[in-house]
Amino acid sequence: MTKAGNWQSYERVLLPPVENLHHLDVYRGHGGYETLKRVLEELEPQEVTAQMKRSGLRGRGGAGFPTGLKWSFMPPVKPDVPRYLCCNADESEPGTFKDRQLMEYNPHLLFEGILIACYAMSLNACYLYVRGEYASWITHLEEELAKMYDANLVGENMLGTGHCMDIILHKGAGAYICGEETSLMESLEGKRAYPRIKPPFPAQSGIWGYPTTINNVETLACAPLILGKGADWYAGIGAEKNPGPLLYGISGHVNRPGVYEYPTGMLITDLLEIAGGMRGNKKLKALVPGGASVPVLRADMIEGVTMDVESLREAGSMLGTAGMLFLDEDTDMVAFLRRVAHFYHHESCGQCTPCREGTGWMENLITRIDDGEGNLRDLDLLLDLCDQMEGRTVCALADAAAWPVRNTIQRFREDFERRCRPAVWAVNA
């Protein structure tokens, strides 16, 4: 019995197997927006937040912060002081594609979650910041949102309850850094997306300087489930300290890559089996369990490890976004790291010195090693650069860039050393 419980008989709730669920009428036909209506009519906002807290839901955007707690950070309502919810749909972490599925197949669950969150925090506007590259999903969301306005599910006097809530769709322009909550707000305000210094945290000073809460798509989509089926039901799914259904985005050298919905706390080995095993019956070499920035795990490190915050921390990695990248035995870890380093070099916003200069230097060094012109000392220099970048910048992008470098080199040092020029050349007889 794993933490995930009886997962073989798990029934999907985030992405239920209902045809055309993305249409408003189908969604409503399956009981959609009933929870919202009940919440608006029967519950006080504090009770909603209390339920969220009780459910034990932790944010699905990567940091894993308890959602109910985050909602409770919003300051008391003051007249004439606007407050905002922001839904972070700027999903750009390499290896992560779960929010896209939600927006495609079950967008109304997200909208319903947004409206519940708006009610819980007594606010009436939510910005939905969608990654610009998700152009077709944006069109789709816009269409569904228009239908909602027509059906009076959102807007003035929504559902006849006297509440007024608006959802504003905002398109990103293709920068990874906009997924960082404070730079997302800057971008939303029309400024250059440079992350802000925290504190003040968004709950004190967010969009336009007003109290703001930012949640991930999957996090908000959980709200109707928690309020509809009960916090206890939710808390009973999956791992005890990190419960709930989870979208596992599985990619890499597996037979059936894709997004799979299962409880948290699944054994990594089970998930690999679900995804059809390794392609061509190759052996697993490495696994990135939660998006490109989390530390990579060697194949011998995943035995008995489950997909939840605690277990992965013990194993030396993080849950992140649960975007799992399986790499087979033929994978060149140097080339893998080169690509990851290139990404962070390309996406560093350039605000802080260590990240702006460090990410490029790292890519240079790894490229040199990959080209066979690296030296053994370059590996130590790379680890030094990780020390020089980590924890010294405004946002966490420098950390995200340094972790994979540090861990890939430490955990696959032989692969790197083999590609470097020897420190001492053999003397030919």
């Binding site: 390309h346 996406e347 605000q351 802080c352 010195t353 230097w361 020089q388």
Partner: protein
């Protein structure tokens, strides 16, 4: 009073100061690039990192926990903090690079990062010598670099606007220039473009960086990325001497530094004065440096022969005295809002000695030029000074008529140009003996002048100017004049003689010494020739005398003014009622 312990020493503080500013105010040096006291704090250079902790408190009782030795247990932030963005609070313990290896390493690491893509072209960079990056790299940086790759290449010598040139490779992305245009000048003409290591400041498409305060970004830039079109490659910093002064292009009297090499003013930069111009200087004030070097006269002259035939000072002043003597009470004196308080006061003494009349000063108002900040409608530096002396704007209709009628037999003009300002024409002055103190050979009254006396400008003299809000500020000589004047030489300081060129310097050029005299030196020489001895013993004593006898200048001695000036009493307290509404 709340206390903070920095490097083991405790300091008291008030309010909520930022740690970096607090340290700088208390002489604790912290390296930094992006922080500027008058702008927002982005904390992006990451250079001012320090280790900050606070005494650990018991969660229940709130008491400070102590260890076995009875010392409070300090709980440090898990990460190093940027001191610029950290607000000091009571009891905090701060370690700078002086007491923490961790901080020292972090500051060295940041400098290593900053330098990897920096072109290190200090030998040809205008900023070298007073470059925060250069200074701090030597002081806090690594000994060498471990970077072995091609540096990032970015656009060089980009002309952002008519006065500012960008070298994007030198830029360290501190965003000071962008924040200046956003927050201080509010023109919004600069932004950062590109991303990551390719970032550099640029104007939006189709926009020229031509705002009237654009050159401030040159001083703000902590490296040589933004340079002045005019000053670029003109001089090394260490070849020049900087003299604290004030600008004389308008009535604001912004504080500045005059940078002089070989007796040429090569540039003008702002000097911080929170009561006048804070840290800023408009472009028009900076571009005025040429006025000190160009079109300057070659010596005194007496008309009658040809203009080119220059005379000696003795002969010229003797001639001036003769003219005044014969004119007697028909001599008319025009004061000047361009001249110092001391010069105008001396002119009044001369008028008294001759028995003539001071007609007033010629106002130079350019309506609409002022911006409510550092530019004013008034293009003269000392209108208030004149009025506080009791000299008022000249009645142009009246005096134009009198000059044209030939009633005025001698006209004594102090450092101004009545022809250019439209008071009279060269023709109408044909019957008038004009004595002219002038700055530039472009002076249009010069053809009408019987005696032309080159006067020292603000960069060469000692004197007091009173700005539009009644602040008295003094100037000291930044460059030497040709003649010997011990008062000027004393103020200039002996140590700087070399900056003005000795015959041993390869760039020494004797012609850069202007043959002029301060008006306060010339006028006593004229009165002496007239037989009236006025010996005020230099501008310092003149100002001492004025401050004691004229309540509008109460307390305005040179010592009291110092380098930043003093506020005089309100204008209303000395202005005669009949002149109200004329300003």
């Amino acid at each position: 009073m709340p206390q903070v312990i920095i490097d083991g020493k405790s300091y008291e503080f008030e309010g909520r100061p930022s740690l970096l500013q607090f340290c700088l105010d208390h002489g604790i040096e912290l390296p930094h690039f992006c922080y500027h006291p008058s702008m927002s704090v982005p904390a992006n250079c990451r250079q001012c990192l320090v280790d900050i902790g606070a005494p650990m408190r018991d969660r229940q009782t709130g008491e400070i926990q102590v260890d076995e030795q009875g010392e409070p247990v300090i709980q440090y932030f898990p990460k190093l903090q940027t001191s610029c963005s950290h607000i000091v609070s009571d009891g905090q313990v701060v370690h700078t690079a002086r007491s923490s290896e961790k901080v020292k390493d972090a500051q060295r690491d940041t400098l290593e990062f900053l330098l990897i893509n920096h072109p290190l072209d200090c030998p040809i960079c205008d900023q070298a010598g007073h470059c925060p990056l250069q200074i701090q790299a030597y002081k806090y940086g690594p000994e060498g670099s471990r970077f072995e790759f091609r540096k990032v290449h970015k656009p060089k010598k980009v002309k952002l606007g008519p006065r500012v040139v960008l070298d994007a490779e030198r830029c360290i992305n501190c965003t000071r220039c962008v924040r200046f245009t956003d927050e201080i000048s509010k023109s919004g003409q600069l932004t950062i473009i590109e991303r990551g290591v390719k970032n550099y400041p640029m104007t939006p498409p189709g926009v020229s960086f031509d705002e009237p305060y654009s050159m401030n970004v040159i001083d703000l830039c902590p490296v040589g990325a933004l340079t002045s079109v005019d000053f670029r490659f003109q001089a090394r910093i260490w070849e020049m001497a900087s003299t604290p002064s004030i600008t004389t292009t308008n009535a604001k009297g912004s504080n500045c530094h005059l940078w002089v090499r070989d007796n040429l003013v090569l540039r003008i930069t702002p000097r911080a004065n929170p009561d006048v111009n804070e840290f800023w200087l408009p472009d028009e004030d900076r571009l005025a440096y040429r006025r000190f070097n160009e079109d300057r006269p070659a010596g005194p002259s007496i008309a009658g022969g040809t203009r080119a035939a220059f005379s000696s000072w003795d002969a010229s002043l003797q001639r001036a005295a003769e003219i005044l003597q014969s004119a007697g009470e028909n001599a008319v004196f025009i004061a000047s809002a361009y001249a110092t308080v001391e010069d105008n006061w001396m002119l009044m003494q001369l008028a008294d000695a001759v028995g003539g009349q001071v007609a007033g000063y010629i106002p130079h108002i350019d309506p609409g030029h002022g911006d409510g900040w550092l530019c004013t409608d008034d293009r003269t530096p000392n209108r208030q000074g004149c009025e506080r002396l009791g000299i008022y704007p000249i009645d142009e209709t009246l005096w134009r008529a009198r000059i044209e009628s030939g009633e005025v037999t001698a006209l004594y003009v102090l450092e101004d140009d009545p022809v250019a300002s439209g008071l009279c024409s060269v023709e109408s002055l044909a019957g008038t003996e004009v004595i002219l103190h002038y700055h530039h050979t472009t002076n249009q009254t010069l053809p009408a002048a019987r005696v032309a006396l080159p006067a020292a400008m603000a960069a060469e003299t000692i004197g007091t100017f009173v700005n539009e809000s009644g602040r008295a500020q003094r100037v000291i000589p930044a460059k030497a004049i040709k003649g010997t004047n011990r008062t000027l030489m004393m103020q200039m300081g002996l140590s700087r003689a070399d900056r003005h060129g000795t015959p041993f310097d390869r760039w020494h050029n004797e012609s850069h010494y202007i043959d002029c005299k301060p008006s306060w030196e010339m006028i006593p020489m004229i009165t002496r020739a007239l037989g009236t001895e006025i010996n005020p013993q230099g501008p310092r004593k003149i100002m001492q005398h004025i401050s004691e006898t004229n309540p509008a200048f109460a307390g305005a001695t040179h010592d009291a003014m110092g380098l930043t000036g003093i506020d005089l009493c309100l204008k209303e307290s000395f202005q005669p009622a009949h002149l109200e509404g004329t300003h």
